[in-house]
């Protein structure tokens, strides 16, 4: 037992777990970081990162075999020859879709911090106060001022490039120099500002460093982030938090470690450790610690809680409120507009910017009122068309080849990410009839968007069209390509924070009400979803929770 005892246990090594391990070890705690998947070594295991397009036999496409092996992943761009090894083996780890739910998982050291979109935005009090003001779900137990210093703290560590735009709904942060808009985007941004009072188009704020930082090389503008970056230019566990944790000498990393439950001590009303199933040997081990950080990613964190302390609470640790597994959220997307920008034939770009533009939320703010609540933001960008464009008047031959060898017209698109409300009956639960490769019970997911989101989707299209047309784009077309929950890859909720143990799973410091030495700081903790990309908020909450945990430990409160 002594050999398996640490000061802290972190479950999951993705964007929040990696950071938890870094913070805990830097504060002097001997920490074991448990990861269910294989190890991925920085640079060495980014096997396709330096390949030219022609070195991939299908040029990055999907084969029929890949589609058969990945029935969920194939539903989007996510299934791709170039980073297939970063996505879960779906046959080993099935789940049940009561309603369609796109669950795109990354089971390896680093989790989805290797493939994430890197867009990094602060939330504001418009978001933290929203539930209370609208009378939806429960109030967040924190406000922007509680998190602001922690946003700064993690921004400085991660390296977020962005512009200080002075917008109240999208607070500025401690940014590295911003990336640049291209000439068409600059023009569109200026025309949007001129035509709309509260709409702004800003350069995306992204976790790609624009100056060298902590032994990481600045972004080289290859735009191949999802293959793993040999320069360490975007924030990932491997590039940033893991090396920092290792450097303390306090970290033990254990891959192939599926945490099957948190071990709960009825007498002390605390967790005493975790049970681990070795994914390679099927042996079971126990690890013990004073503090447990649960960062298995939203749905798997709920799964771990549901499997823990069932002798006390049949529905699992944190279920006494009746909210564990409930209030599952995502961002609904795949709606917007695109069009063509006339002119600018004498302008082009150099380099491949791993970033786009962002239009922060403007609906239901500053006096605007719609027939739905909350709002959406747009991501997008402008560029010249490439060789895959259609040239209607050309058929085949040298003329076609030479024409396609030159860039085409400028086009621009805006795609919205909309807030999803926390509906109690959008939920995850254990389906005891189905088992995974290791004989473990799997999750069933039963969630859908509702009337509020459907109404919002109409604005997501029409507002984009209106803005692009006012900005001078021609042939503007809207699109609504349909959406199933999960597809935004921003799963949130299932163990929400709150002010009352009767209606929430976690308190204001992310402690499980029923076991205060268990902290849940991944997407599971979210009380509402806002419309901004959520990872930066998980990171800020994680750093804040570790600070709290270590201080409580010193006071012997946990």
């Amino acid at each position: 037992m002594e050999k398996n005892t640490y000061d802290a246990i972190v479950i999951g090594s993705g964007i929040s777990g990696g950071l938890a391990a870094k913070e805990l070890t830097e504060k002097g705690l001997k920490t074991i970081l448990l990861e269910r998947g294989r190890n991925v070594e920085h640079i060495k295991d980014y096997v396709n990162a330096n390949k030219a397009p022609w070195e991939l036999p299908h040029r990055g496409g999907k084969t029929q075999q890949m589609m058969a092996d990945h029935p969920v992943l194939k539903r989007d761009y996510t299934l791709n020859e170039s980073n297939l090894e970063f996505w879960v083996d779906e046959r080993e780890s099935p789940y049940v879709e009561v309603k369609p739910f796109d669950w795109f998982r990354g089971y390896q050291v680093g989790g989805r911090s290797l493939m994430w979109g890197r867009q990094s935005y602060r939330w504001s009090d418009y978001d933290f106060e929203a539930n209370a003001k609208d009378g939806v779900a429960v109030d967040w137990p924190i406000r922007y001022k509680d998190l602001a210093p922690w946003y700064s703290y993690v921004e400085k560590f991660a390296g977020i490039s962005g512009n200080r735009d002075g917008l109240p709904q999208l607070p500025d942060g401690d940014f590295m120099p911003p990336m640049e808009m291209n000439c068409v985007e600059k023009d569109v941004a200026a025309r949007i500002k001129k035509n709309f009072k509260n709409r702004h188009m800003v350069i995306g704020r992204t976790a790609n460093i624009t100056v060298a930082h902590n032994n990481r090389t600045n972004c080289q503008y290859r735009n191949k982030c999802w293959l793993g970056c040999p320069f360490g230019a975007y924030y990932s566990t491997q590039a940033a938090s893991l090396p920092a944790a290792v450097a303390t000498g306090n970290l033990t990393l254990r891959p192939f470690s599926i945490v099957t439950k948190i071990l709960y001590d009825k007498d002390t009303k605390r967790a005493k450790g975790v049970e681990v199933l070795d994914a390679e040997t099927n042996q079971t081990y126990e690890y013990f610690a004073k503090i447990v950080f649960l960062n298995a990613s939203t749905l798997n964190s709920a799964w771990v809680l549901m499997n823990s302390a069932t002798d006390v609470w049949p529905e699992g640790l944190g279920s006494s409120s009746g909210e564990l597994g409930h209030n599952l959220m995502d961002h609904h997307f795949r709606a917007g507009a695109h069009g063509e920008m006339p002119g600018y034939e004498d302008k082009y770009v150099y380099g491949r910017r791993a970033n786009g533009i962002y239009v922060p939320r403007f609906r239901n703010l500053f006096g605007d009122k719609r027939d739905y609540i909350r709002g959406f933001g747009y991501q997008g960008g402008a560029g010249r068309e490439g060789w895959s464009r259609e040239i209607a008047e050309m058929s085949i031959g040298g003329e076609l080849k030479d024409a396609l060898s030159e860039p085409g017209n400028w086009t621009m698109g805006l795609g919205a990410f909309g807030e999803t409300l926390p509906y109690h009956d959008n939920r995850a639960f254990l389906d005891k009839t189905k088992k995974d490769k290791w004989g473990l019970t799997v999750l069933a997911l039963d969630a859908s968007i509702r009337d509020n989101e459907q109404k919002m989707r109409i604005d997501m299209m029409q507002d984009a069209q209106e803005m692009l047309e006012k900005a001078g784009l021609k042939n503007v077309k809207t699109y609504n390509n349909g959406y199933a929950m999960g597809g935004g890859i921003h799963e949130m909720g299932t163990a929400r924070m709150g002010r009352d143990p009767k209606t929430s799973v976690l308190n204001a410091h992310n402690q499980v009400w029923d076991a205060p030495n268990v902290y849940v700081t991944d997407g599971a903790c979210m009380t509402s979803s806002a419309c901004q990309n959520p990872s930066l908020t998980y990171m800020a909450l994680t750093a804040r929770a570790v600070d709290h945990a270590v201080s409580e430990l010193k006071k012997q409160n946990v």
Binding site: R59, Q64, E185, D346, A392, I396
Partner: protein
Amino acid sequence: MNRRDALTRVALIMGGTLIGGDYFLSSCSSPSEEKEKKATTAAKKEKPFLSQDQVAYLNEVGETILPTTKTPGAKAADVGSFMAVMVKDCYKPEDQQIFLQGLTKLEQASQQKNGKGFLASTPEQRTALLTALDAEQKQYSKTKTLEAPNHYFRMLKELTLLGYFTSEVGSTKALRYLPVPGKYDGCVPYKKGDRAWATT
């Protein structure tokens, strides 16, 4: 550019969705499990999907679609071999059949139009034939429903474009390939004739 439009851009070709790629809107039109199983079985057959003669034939078709101009043509990029890999691995069984039957149809059309096989035809005859077939596929693709079979010449043209412009020859000779740009400039001068970047 964000993570999503980055890859969907690649998927759209010639004003439509890449055949066999199933890249876009695929959550709305997932092939059935049974079809997937068949595809898996088909992929396991040992025999090469296309003979060397067929690959050589496809290179000639490709060269007519994207011929050598001031830059090398599709044959120099060996698009024939690329097509063989893509059709075998990425096409559904029904699309594989259309592709294979298309080779016969193309040969028949050549006999009809030019009185000889494609390989025996002059460059001018080849161009005239494929121009006519392209007009046929454009007309067909314009009116076809989503479920209706694809036109074999659309496949040939699409695979030629994809194979050529993503090949080393196409990327570095017809286009400009920059593995590590090192910086981003959002507004650089462009003059007609400057080649496009190979990857965006």
